[in-house]
Amino acid sequence: MTMLDPITLAVIQAGLQQVCDEMDLSFSRAAFSPVIAEADDRSDGIYSAEDGSLIAQGSRGLPVFVGTMQFSTRHIIERIASGVTKAPAPGDIYIVNDPYLGGTHLMDVRFAMPFYRSGEIFCWLSNTGHWPDTGGAVPGGFSASAISAEQEGLRLPPVKLFKAGVMDEELWQVICSNIRVSEQRIGDVKAQASALLVGAARLSSILDRYGDATVIAAIAEMRGLAARQMTANLRLIAEGQYKATAIVDSDGVVNEPLTIALTVTRAAGRLTFDFAGSSPPCMGPMNSVRATTFSAVYLAMRHIFPDVPMSAGAFEPFTITGIEGTFLDAHYPRPVSGCAAEVSQRIAEAVFAALVVALPDRVTAAPAGTSGNFGLGGHDPEKGRDYVMYQISGGGYGGNADHDGLANGCSTIGISKAPPVEIMEQNFPVLYRRYALHEGSGGAGMHRGGFGLDYEIELLRGQARASFVMDHGRVGPQGALGGQDGAVNCVEVIRDGQILVPDHLSKAQDIPLSPGDRVRVRTPGGGGYGDSALRDRALVAEDVRLGRYSAADAARLFPEPKPLA
């Protein structure tokens, strides 16, 4: 092995990071679908040729994808070795979206390209993009009532979409025949593939400059350094056990809560995440798959220690166990559409809730932690066409050691902007009656939670059906260190003057709406941090003056501290 000087090491690390960042940017810039182009629901990375482990990942990828592609890449490598998947050649690109082969949900479509040097596979370049549709029972793929994977969409095992640099038109026709608005997808496919080519060109120039042997040595060293850095961070956590639970409202089919039971153990320089005791696999789509469960833990830890470079080494000091037989490790044909958007955020919440005690300066009380997916599908008679509308929305962040939680922050797993009301009204036959702060929603605490969103949408024309995949309807985001929970998520359908609340609170499928009917959604507030009696009285008064809490609520939630005896 080549001896590496620390300068070359740092320079190669920056170079490999740059390769991934450029892939991320190229993908978003060229992508057709707003989900990728505007919401950045994609990620790019470099993976080892031996076992698919993560070498480097773009810093602008959607957080939910931290570490996920190392699982799908490993599956591809194993399937090629065993002959199940056809062997690669230069210029090939595999496509795969099978959740059970190291994926998330079906809409997250991965491309994986072997990168060759001197006739050998040097590493894999892979990326994931969230396609707006991959077929299935409902447009967009988020069916709250699906009970099997087939209802969720087209499932692709790893197959070559590009062979020697040329797209397989026959396979493409099969895909197009199974997804909605297929004519626009070619724009995303070309962007996704060309991002990998951008990465390959940049990676080649780094290898040419520093030499293959040096880069190989640097990759090994980077992995060790990341592991050492994470291990050093873990020393901030006192040895012992930390327990927490998080509750998913229901699976969308059976109206019972699902429990994530987590015991974090800090011992022998490692951190073990034990999920034993969590609920068994569920009938509806709130199952998670192994890769998503692992990534949810990784992304929570990255929120806590954002400095550690994204490399397989960063995850080495972690052991994740106890998921077998629970809904966090579902197998075919369990439906999984809720895993990436909702269950992953509950897993992260459990990690935060467990570790805030050990790391009170670094971890916040629970954030709203739902993507707030509201889908509306129908026919617009004025435009003479069918439509599918999605409203995603934010919620309050948890209070923290330093300050109150942010209002209307994006989901734990996302970094996307919400669409403007004006754009929604241009495109769909709806009228927003309100887009406001969810008053009173921030969990009380020394530093209170941030406020959620309160919006109301009226259907203007034609018949439509409303669907919801949200969470935190049963219990609000958890307060920490004596702080109180944030307000729960509330969905109301106002039809013929009657207020209907979905049975599953945060999840429902195909509720019929007529013109004049309204949907009101109030998203969760963040959890409070610390005892609310310790809150600065001037800040309590300020929140009342600004109408964020009613005077009565404030008096109840933020009691005057008792005078010392």
Binding site: L9, Q13, R29, F32, A191, R302, N400, I415, L437, L546
Partner: protein, 684 residues
């Protein structure tokens, strides 16, 4: 010298540009008759920037009675926004939507870390709602409640608001309600500080339009008071002409009119630097430039193509603070001289993103800084003169040896070299990201290095980016002030169409462009400033139907045919994204027009006094010092102002001047270009 004919009475006087930066206020004065140039640099006076401006004019010994034109770049509005030291401002908006300005568009400041803070420009108790509603096509759904408007206006006035924003949903489609509400407000409001949402930006997206309007209103009184006071002071000292102020679009505007669209002055400082680069590049015959302005805490980068300043309608001045009016597209890409180096817990060298800022600043400032920075590395390695800048060389060496060298097993110098190398890699990466985002390849550009620290790193950075040439202007440290003098008069227009190209009425397009051009030419004529020519630059923003991001397509004139637009768009799309999407139809989203009045040429060769130039390069040498280029190398040091007009040399060399230090790396070839610039051919 000026090369054109104008009325003599307008052109005998001096032309002054004065730029207020974070630390220094810079002044440059040109005398068109004699060709003489005067420069001044004084500390910025933060409380009232006018004191610094006057001090600079004083230092330059300018007789204001003989000054014909003063163009002023100010950070008054920038600082007000960033520090939220704003005029008390009220909002009247559509019922149900007063929180839009606080909710933003659901983001957090950074991808990782579930924290963040945001202070809205207008607090919640000063955001009032009135019944009214338009739909997306501009049809009235709920009539404007005029009595409610009057009540809200009075309430905000009585609450002590000085400025007022009227911001209704879909006003871009039909501004009638905003106009009527403004009329009602005008009769009740004690001043002219009323901003309508549609007036600055007639484009959909309620948050971006609302923030733009709110910032405009909230800085309007501050800017008007400031320029008014400064104009009075200048008048008292004999200045008889109109004071002009730099706008963020790279144009200048009369101080009498600037406050109406005050938001356009946010980002005016970086814009003037880019305008100076455009001008200098054009004179030097180099029209593709990446500007590289490295300061103490951050670095600004812009990409100039075909001699045009890049303009964007979508600048975000900080987290969740979008200002959507046309502004020069300058990107802040992070590190500056104060970026801190460290070895992390895993044993990896890191540079930034932490910065020592200006207080305490780098160790070499001698203000108590203890952690090694990029500036300290430059001192330690002899790139910056230890005599001129090094107050604490031993301390710097010790910090590098202990904090960086020891954990990496390196000596202090090797450690400092590593920090510069890594800092350059990060900077190069950031510049590559900017170029990718606009679809350009850095190798097709020259690097225009300015700011105090830009020329220190430019040659090494260019090598990292495979940029073949570096242009270092005569006075890198006063580039922004120069930009004020050489900027154009400029008016920008945007009209949203948002139609499929198939169905667009091309006669209407031509009529819109023609109307805008007439208006722009009228505005320039009204300003009464001498221009040599007025030209119009046309472009459209297009996209494939179903997409959200826009692509700007320049047009040769204002009468495009549908076929020409289709072809120009497809070509531009392929150039940018290397993707052909023949089966998908495009949409015509925005029509953009800039009417630009070009001001008389200014001779830059006198920025360095020709009388001071020596006959030979060796005569300009002030000494030799040891500089670290992978090892200590005896390196000649020159004084820039003494270099002959046709100087050539091969690196390594250090060139010092009052306002910066230039490092010519070993093997790089430097020559002067007859315009007073240094042109370095990298690795030549």
């Amino acid at each position: 010298m000026w090369g054109y004919e104008v009325k003599a009475d307008r052109m005998t006087g001096l032309v002054a540009g004065v730029d207020v930066g974070g630390t220094f206020t810079d002044l440059v004065i040109f005398d068109p008759e004699s060709g003489a140039v005067r420069l001044a640099k004084v500390p910025t006076t933060l409380e009232n920037q006018a004191f610094g401006v006057l001090a600079a004019l004083d230092q330059a010994g300018a007789d204001l009675a003989h000054v014909d034109l003063i163009v002023h770049g100010t950070t008054t509005t920038t600082n007000a926004v960033l520090e939220r030291k704003l005029a008390r401002t009220g909002l009247i908006t559509t019922e149900g939507f007063r929180d839009v300005l606080e909710l933003g568009r659901r983001t957090r400041p950074q991808p990782y870390g579930m924290t963040g803070r945001f202070t809205p420009v207008i607090p919640r108790d000063l955001r009032l709602e009135v019944p009214e509603r338009m739909d997306a096509r501009g049809r009235v759904l709920t009539a404007l409640d005029e009595a409610a408007v009057a009540r809200a206006v009075s309430a905000l006035r009585d609450a002590g608001c000085e400025s007022l924003v009227i911001h209704f949903l879909h006003s871009y489609a039909n501004p009638a309600h905003e106009l009527r509400a403004a009329e009602i407000a005008a009769s009740l409001w004690p001043n002219r500080y009323i901003t309508c949402g549609h007036a600055l930006l007639s484009e959909s997206r309620e948050y971006e339009r609302g923030v733009t309007a709110a910032v405009n209103a909230a800085v309007q009184p501050l800017l008007e008071r400031y320029v008014g006071r400064l104009a009075d002071e200048l008048k008292a000292k004999g200045y008889a002409r109109d004071l002009l102020v730099m706008n963020g679009n790279g144009g200048m505007v009369s101080s009498r009119a600037v406050a109406r669209e005050a938001v356009k002055t946010v980002m005016s400082g970086p814009a003037s630097g880019v305008m100076a680069a455009v001008y200098t590049g054009r004179r030097a015959g180099i029209n593709n430039l990446i500007t590289y302005d490295m300061g103490g805490t951050s670095t600004d980068v812009a990409m100039i193509r075909a001699g045009r300043a890049p303009v964007s309608n979508e600048i975000e001045v900080e987290y969740a603070m979008p200002i959507h009016v046309p502004m020069v597209d300058v990107r802040t890409v992070g590190a500056g001289g104060g970026s801190i180096a460290r070895v992390d817990q895993g044993g990896m060298l890191r540079v930034g993103p932490e910065s020592a800022g200006s207080n305490p600043g780098p160790i070499c400032y001698g203000r108590g800084g203890l952690r090694p920075t990029i500036s300290d590395a430059n001192i330690l390695l002899g790139r910056l003169s230890p005599e001129r800048f090094g107050h604490a060389l031993d301390q710097v060496r010790a910090a590098y040896a202990d904090q960086i060298g020891a954990p990496l097993g390196l000596g202090a110098e090797r450690a400092a070299e590593a920090v510069l190398t890594l800092g350059n890699i990060h900077m190069a990466g950031a510049i590559r990201m900017v170029s990718i985002s606009v679809g350009a390849d850095p190798r097709d550009f020259a690097l225009f290095a300015f700011g105090g620290a830009g020329p220190l790193h430019a040659c090494a950075l260019a090598r990292e980016l495979s940029i073949p040439r570096v242009l270092i202007p005569a006075r890198p440290g006063i580039t922004n002030a120069l930009g004020c003098v050489v900027a154009d008069l400029r008016h920008d227009f945007v009209r949203t169409l948002n139609r499929p190209l198939d169905g667009a009425d091309m006669d209407a397009v031509a009529a819109i462009f023609a109307g805008q051009e007439t208006e722009g030419r009228r505005l320039i004529a009204d300003e009464g400033i001498v221009v040599t020519d007025v030209r119009a630059e046309y472009s459209v923003d297009m996209q494939f139907i179903g997409q959200t991001h826009l692509l700007r397509v320049p047009l040769p004139d204002g009468r495009p045919t549908r076929d020409a637009l289709q072809q120009a768009f497809e070509r531009a799309y392929f150039e940018r994204f290397k993707v052909e999407l023949a089966t998908i139809r495009p949409a015509l989203v925005n029509l953009n027009l800039s009417v630009i009045g070009r001001r008389p040429e200014i001779d830059l060769t006198r920025l360095i006094d020709p009388a001071g130039r020596r006959g030979a390069v060796t005569d300009a040498q002030t000494g030799v010092r040891q500089v670290w280029f992978g090892g200590w190398v005896d390196t000649p040091v020159y004084w820039r102002d003494h270099l002959p007009g046709d100087a050539r040399l091969v690196g390594p060399a250090i060139i010092e001047q009052m306002d910066t230090t230039i490092v010519i790396e070993p093997g790089d070839r430097m020559e002067t270009d007859g315009e007073g610039n240094l042109i370095v051919t990298v690795g030549g």
